[in-house]
């Protein structure tokens, strides 16, 4: 049996261990929602992220935009991704401990061997410690595995004004097989959740 797997599922699971103190129950509920493939409610953070990404897209495509509070940050990213392809679907089969997974997802931008992911932070960079914060994410491992011709994955993070970048290549990323392996070991210890996963994430051949 082949099952789908995505960075969203893997990160929702990982967040149950890495969430802020006191947020464990919410994190587990969110993971179970993701596992059940329930639509995610659009929070303010998600809406802001989409609006910012649309602004970057408009600028990268050379459309006229009305100057606003995020223009400076969006311009810095637009200059980097200009000329790339947006929302590129990537997929590959990955075998872990004899199980076959269809690993797939959408890259924000692909350009000249580099995958870019745009992130928006509502908090000013003055108040954040960002560096290294994406190291534990599965996204770069997953997408670099799906797109073997890409040599680098770059997170482009903005607070609407500043730009922070964090880049990973295959040498600095954990193999996705390792991450999937850990996820499955955990899931196999939770028979009810494993059943949900096998039902809801099964790939119809």
């Amino acid at each position: 049996m082949k099952t789908r797997i995505t960075k969203t599922l893997l990160d929702a699971w990982a967040y149950t261990f890495d969430c802020y103190e006191g947020g464990e129950e919410d994190a587990m509920n969110d993971f179970i929602k993701t596992l059940n493939r329930e639509p995610i409610e659009e929070t303010e953070a998600i809406a802001n992220g989409k609006a910012f990404e649309n602004l970057v897209w408009d600028m990268a495509e050379g459309h006229e935009v009305t100057p606003g509070k995020w223009t400076e940050g969006a311009r810095k990213i637009a200059e980097i991704v200009k000329g790339g392809q947006w929302q590129v679907h990537v997929a590959t089969d990955v075998t872990v401990n004899g199980r076959v997974f269809w690993l797939h997802g959408f890259c924000d931008v692909v350009k000249a061997g580099v995958i870019y992911d745009i992130k928006f932070k509502a908090k000013s960079f003055n108040q954040l410690d960002l560096y290294g914060s994406y190291r534990g994410h599965s996204q770069h491992s997953a997408y670099l595995r799906c797109l073997p011709e890409a040599y680098e994955f770059v997170y482009l993070v903005s607070d609407g004004s500043d730009l922070y970048t964090e880049a990973y290549n295959r040498r600095t990323s954990r193999p996705i097989e390792e991450i999937i392996g850990e996820f499955m070991s955990w899931l196999e210890s939770q028979p009810d959740l494993l059943k949900i996963y096998e039902e809801k994430w099964r790939v119809e051949e």
Binding site: V114, F125, N126, Y131, R135, D162
Partner: protein
């Protein structure tokens, strides 16, 4: 002057570096290691740390001491600054403090009515002045720039130690974007090591073949302090080598994308889309051009109301899937 990728000369390539670690680990001495014992280096000593280095290993360095940010700026116009290949900022956290003082003294709205620093406005001035200062050193003066940071040990959620740069404002984040190498300096056993790859305890950055743990030689009086010089030379050599392979790939990539754009523009219906799909496959692909060309065509087809039929392996009109 326009050059082809394969013509690029990296022998004078300059770099941005972050060095951070615990007090006494030898960050300043290490930062003075471009050239023979600091021969090519100007140290902007904002914490008076130069006195703590071995005189032999700073013998040839120029040292700039300043009481205010304005004095730092003025000294950047001296012959010593012009002659240096590398400018060291010791420490970047102190430079931000100097800039806070500068903003407080010179910008009215960087002060609150109570006479304290207005963080919201003040850090805006600090940020833009810092950007222009770093840009001047890196781009206008074309120097290597080394930022020394102290670090603070904090605990992660599980109580494990993590090392963070000691610096106020957004610079502790944005500084990583413009730099090539970021090393956490630590003792491992009895060896001093510069770590260029991120680990659970600290963040780091490497490129051009510089990664992982690099041992810093024990400095005796008769040993040259030239770690950074060797690092830069090695990175330049690696860049030249990388460029030989990459320049060809980039040329092929650009050629494929240029050709694809013209071909996709000519798509008007399912027949031309399918012909284009075949032609795109025959291009000389490089890097991610094959995936990007497929996306380019797919986007065009969507605007024409064409869908890709997986079973037929072809674009068809309507909503067939």
């Amino acid at each position: 002057m326009i050059q082809h990728g394969y013509e690029l000369d990296f022998s004078k390539q300059t770099f941005g570096v972050i060095l951070y670690g615990a007090p006494g680990i030898g960050k300043t001495t290490l930062a003075l290691s471009d050239g023979n014992n600091g021969a090519d280096t100007l140290l902007i000593d904002l914490e008076h740390g130069i006195g703590r280095t071995n005189p032999i290993h700073r013998l040839n360095a120029s040292v700039l001491s300043a009481a205010t940010y304005e004095e730092v700026l003025a000294d950047l116009n001296t012959p010593e600054a012009a002659a240096a290949k590398t400018i060291v900022i010791d420490t970047a956290g102190s430079l931000v403090d100097y800039l806070k003082d500068w903003a407080f003294r010179t910008k009215q709205d960087a002060r609150t009515k109570a006479g304290t620093f207005n963080g919201l406005k003040g850090f805006g001035y600090v940020k833009s002045e810092l950007e222009s200062f770093v840009n001047k050193i890196k781009t206008v003066m074309n120097k290597n720039v080394v930022f020394i940071f102290h670090c603070d040990e904090k605990a992660d959620k599980d109580g494990n130690p993590i090392q963070r740069l000691r610096c106020e404002g957004s610079f502790r984040n944005t500084v990583w974007t413009g730099i090539d190498f970021g090393a956490y300096i630590q003792m491992i056993g009895n060896k001093r090591v510069a770590c260029f790859s991120p680990e659970d305890e600290f963040f780091a950055k490497g490129c051009h073949g510089i990664s992982g743990h690099v041992e810093i030689p024990m400095l005796k009086d008769d040993v040259k302090n030239d770690f950074l010089q060797k690092l830069f030379d090695s990175a330049r050599a690696n860049m030249a080598q990388e460029n030989e392979g990459v320049a060809e790939q980039i040329t092929a990539y650009k050629g494929a994308m240029e050709a694809a754009k013209g071909m996709v523009e000519g798509v008007t219906d399912a027949d031309t889309a399918n012909a284009c799909m075949k032609a795109l496959l025959n291009l000389n692909h490089s890097l991610t051009s094959k995936t990007e060309c497929a996306k380019l065509l797919n986007d065009k087809c969507k605007t024409l109301g064409l869908n890709f039929n997986k079973a037929e392996g072809a674009y068809v009109a309507g909503d067939a899937k």
